[in-house]
């Protein structure tokens, strides 16, 4: 009933090794880890591979399958083509011990450096009171099974050993976020710690960690970005803050607001020097020309509208009830950047001279 499938598995140790070919029987409903076990029971009894629960709950059997970091027990053979050769290699970011087993002690060191939960001094065991909505945000991060797939995929350390000492990695950013959001944790500098000690600033939100997470934790959106935003929030740097708003959710504009303009220039007649820049630029030729001509003072502008309110008729002011991470945009959450040029009330200082 089984079919023969081609596997290439990396065999070797710290001194080197290479991919070895195996032809293995595969039955219906099996996963990659089953195939590894069959190899161990037959032609390669000393093939080293970590595993424990075989149910996607312990995070032991992390490996790279066709180059993608995955759990061996959660990768069904039915997701591959019949004639596809499946390549299995150890996690690339950590030193190899033997075959598919790597030295993941980096992660345990970072775990030890992250300050532990600080319990409230005035509460006896049994007196802790927390609301479900308040614990849920931390609970999402506590789903982590420590498979370290997010750590191995993170390009900050994947091919850069030199960054390892200064960078804790996504797993420990969400640990910091989890404690930051813990309703009763008494330590108040989790964000600053993440920035100054864990190397949060190295992360440029490519979301690879979120993509590989077998527990589907929104590492970037719910953990890293809120930490980053609140870090910059506290630093009172509005330009960086605006930048982080603009570049959220992958909306990278094609042209940037250059540094000659303060953000205020987008809305007001603030004086500005230097060369012309079309704020919130566009490659639409027509609006380009329009922008060149400056402001059409007679155009129709949208009337101010009341903000969206929730069921109780209130603004969604608290982050707990708000439908997205972090604070709402001061421009209104219905405004997306870049704005179309025709909506900009902007007059170029030299435009009158030109016309």
């Amino acid at each position: 009933m089984g079919t023969k499938r081609q596997f290439r598995i990396w065999r070797g140790d710290a001194d080197g090794g290479d991919l070895q070919d195996y032809t293995v029987e595969v039955n219906e409903g099996e996963v990659v880890l089953d195939v590894i076990h069959r190899l161990q029971a037959t032609e390669a009894p000393d093939l080293a591979c970590r595993w424990n629960c075989k149910a996607g709950k312990c995070g032991s059997c992390s490996m790279e399958i066709n180059g993608l970091p995955k759990l061996g027990c959660m990768t069904r053979m039915s997701t591959f083509e019949e004639n596809e050769t499946i390549t299995v290699t150890p996690l690339r970011t950590f030193p190899v011990i033997r075959d598919l087993v790597t030295d993941v002690s980096f992660n345990y060191e970072k775990a030890r450096e992250t300050p532990a939960f600080a319990p409230p001094a005035d509460l006896a065991p049994g007196d802790y009171r927390m609301q479900q909505v308040d614990v849920e945000r931390s609970q999402e991060f506590r789903k982590c099974i420590e498979c370290f797939l997010c750590q191995t995929v993170c390009h900050v350390i994947r091919d850069h050993d030199e960054n390892k000492s200064a960078f804790a990695g996504p797993r420990y950013f969400i640990r910091a976020a989890e404690l930051d959001m813990h309703p009763l944790d008494t330590k108040s500098d989790r964000k600053e710690y993440a920035q100054s000690e864990q190397g949060l600033g190295f992360c440029n939100i490519t979301k690879c960690c979120t993509e590989v997470c077998p527990e589907h934790i929104k590492i970037t959106d719910n953990g890293i970005i809120p930490m980053k935003e609140r870090v910059v929030d506290r630093r009172y740097d509005p330009l960086v803050w605006l930048g982080s708003k603009i570049f959220r959710r992958g909306q990278v504009p094609q042209t940037f607001v250059t540094s000659e303009h303060s953000p205020g220039a987008v809305r007001s007649h603030a004086p500005s020097g230097g060369t012309h820049s079309h704020a919130g630029g566009s490659h639409d030729a027509k609006s380009e020309t329009q922008a060149q001509q400056g402001v059409n003072w007679h155009r129709e502008v949208p009337k101010p509208t009341a903000p969206a309110v929730d069921a109780s008729g209130r603004l969604p002011l608290t982050e707990l009830t708000f439908d997205r991470a972090a604070a709402p945009s001061p421009f209104g959450d219905d405004v997306t950047f870049p704005l179309p040029p025709e909506h900009l009330n902007f007059a170029h200082p030299q435009q009158d001279e030109k016309h």
Binding site: D13, N27, E28, G29, E30, V31, Q40, A41, P45, D46, A48, C49, R50, W51, N52, C53, K54, A55, G56, K57, C58, G59, S60, M74, R76, S78, I97, R98, D99, V101, D103, V104, Y108, R112, T114, P115, A116, F117, P119, P125, G126, Y128, R129, M130, Q131, Q132, V135, S138, Q139, R142, K143, C144, I145, E146, L179, H182, D185, P214, E215, H216
Partner: protein
Amino acid sequence: MTTTTTRIERHHYDVVVIGAGGAGLRAAIEARLAGKKTAIISKSLFGKAHTVMAEGGAAAAMGNVNSRDNWQVHFRDTMRGGKFLNNFRMAELHAKEAPQRIWELETYGALFDRTKDGKISQRNFGGHEYPRLAHVGDRTGLEMIRTLQQKIVSLQQEDRRTHGSYDARIRVFDETTITELMLDGDRIAGAFGYYRESGEFILFEAPAVVLATGGVGRSYKVTSNSWEYTGDGHALALRAGATLINMEFLQFHPTGMVWPPSVKGILVTESVRGDGGILKNSEGKRFMFDYVPDVFRKQYAETEEEADRWYTDPDNNRRPPELLPRDEVARAINSEVKAGRGTPAGGVYLDIASRLPAEEIRRRLPSMHHQFKGLADVDITKEPMEVGPTCHYVMGGIEVDPDSGAAYGSVRGLFAAGEVTGGMHGSNRLGGNSLSDLLVFGKRAGGHASTYVDQLAARPRVAVSMVETAVETALAPLQRDTGENPYTLQQDLQAVMGDLVGIIRRENELEDALGRLAELRERVAKVSASGGRRYNPGWHLALDLRNMLVVSECTAKAALERRESRGGHTREDYPTMDPQWRRINLVCSLEGDTVRLDRKPLPKMRTELISLFDRAELAKYLTDEELAEFDALAAADAKAAAAATAADAAGAGAAEKENR
């Protein structure tokens, strides 16, 4: 000769904890808090222990959801679940101390699901009279192991501040396996093992060892247990002179996945049934109503209508029979399948899809939904699951002193906690009682091991000859090249245990099993492993086989001896419970190389505890002789009560004041 050529790393500790699951970590925390230099030995990476697999929750009578719950009710449920074979003192301590142990976890940073008034939420579970299980969705075990792991890290951070090193007073040796305990006369002197990573040997010199190695499930073909569950602690204890009890009692969890084949055995949490899931056979019949045994008749619904009302109104309706204790449900499924009413893959259907809206299923059972989608491509919100019994837990284990966790037998300085111990759960464990068991007895074992160390006048010493023998035994499979492959031997052992010492047992099959185990013993003694010492799973399995084999022998011998059916031990040839057998524990010990079996009377329950039960209920379990004794007690109590009222009436107000 060996020692001169073999490098052995040596460490000195006060307490060595073998096993890094819930019980081991809790014991280690306690030993460290008592100021002892503590080592934790973990067979896997730190934080991967089998505790992560526990889904439902931790039972503790906190009374957050139903205020009528208290330790007495919990104690009663536990004894009932174990069919009165439990060590009553352990069940009592467990019921009394579980709430404190759970609350303590919150101070370590655990985040349980909450009730409306902000307390820890508690859910219903098979065999528990009130909602009692503290839980986090269906990943409670993960929360527990992570919390304990992080508490250990926080202690290490404390030590770093005061002593300059994280490892100053508590150190985790991950991916390290202990193969032998070292003795000095009858005293524990240390433990010997190897690092999986390098294959190098390591010797711990320590006057106290806490065993917390979990169970024995890997000896079975269909099991929810991971590779680590090879009965190491059971075997180490036996070889050190300790005794095992109740080894015939294995819990087969009623609902393991039966399809696809690769995940056969993996658990479907009982909460699926607690939240409304029902069991149906291939004819679509909800069959559990046909399997309610007499002892439970009063507490369980007789009609589907009543059962369905219970989910919303538990106070005025009896519970659905799907929530009977695990052994009953497992046997019922087994009977249905044997009668030809099973699914194509040899199980029955567990249906939640037609009982709850999809959104609600995803919210209440997130990791079940995730697991089925990921592992089997089955959407539990749309179709029923195929489930059947899977080897899940061993009730039997090291015979310990209930209060201190110190092992009985001839050895001193050996403590044990968690699944590796016996007695607490009697013949059958209630769901949710294992997580609280780990915490309650983990703490006790760690604390008492520390006290034992304090009381020692001199440290026991490890003899060189013992280390030499241990090294030779460990290296032997690598030095032979004529023996069999360890994987073949393991499969053969699993076949013997699964087919002949499985869920339903018969005398001739058990005798056959003992014969085959003896043959296997010869073959295991000659096992050979290819490859070197660095991270060689074949070699590791070859060493584990020895432990699996001796523990399997204990199970088979005890199963043959106990001529009745009770909890996790079902004899087709003796299908009922026998009150005479309730008074007997079967105790295994090692005499040279052979397993010796003795009968030992069960300790007698204290008066105030046995009075918690109805006479009618006790009548189902106790012998006539014991019942007569109970009646005499009750009569004496009534007399004393009457006398006390009379004394009060005589106006002894002053005396009462004095008493206070």
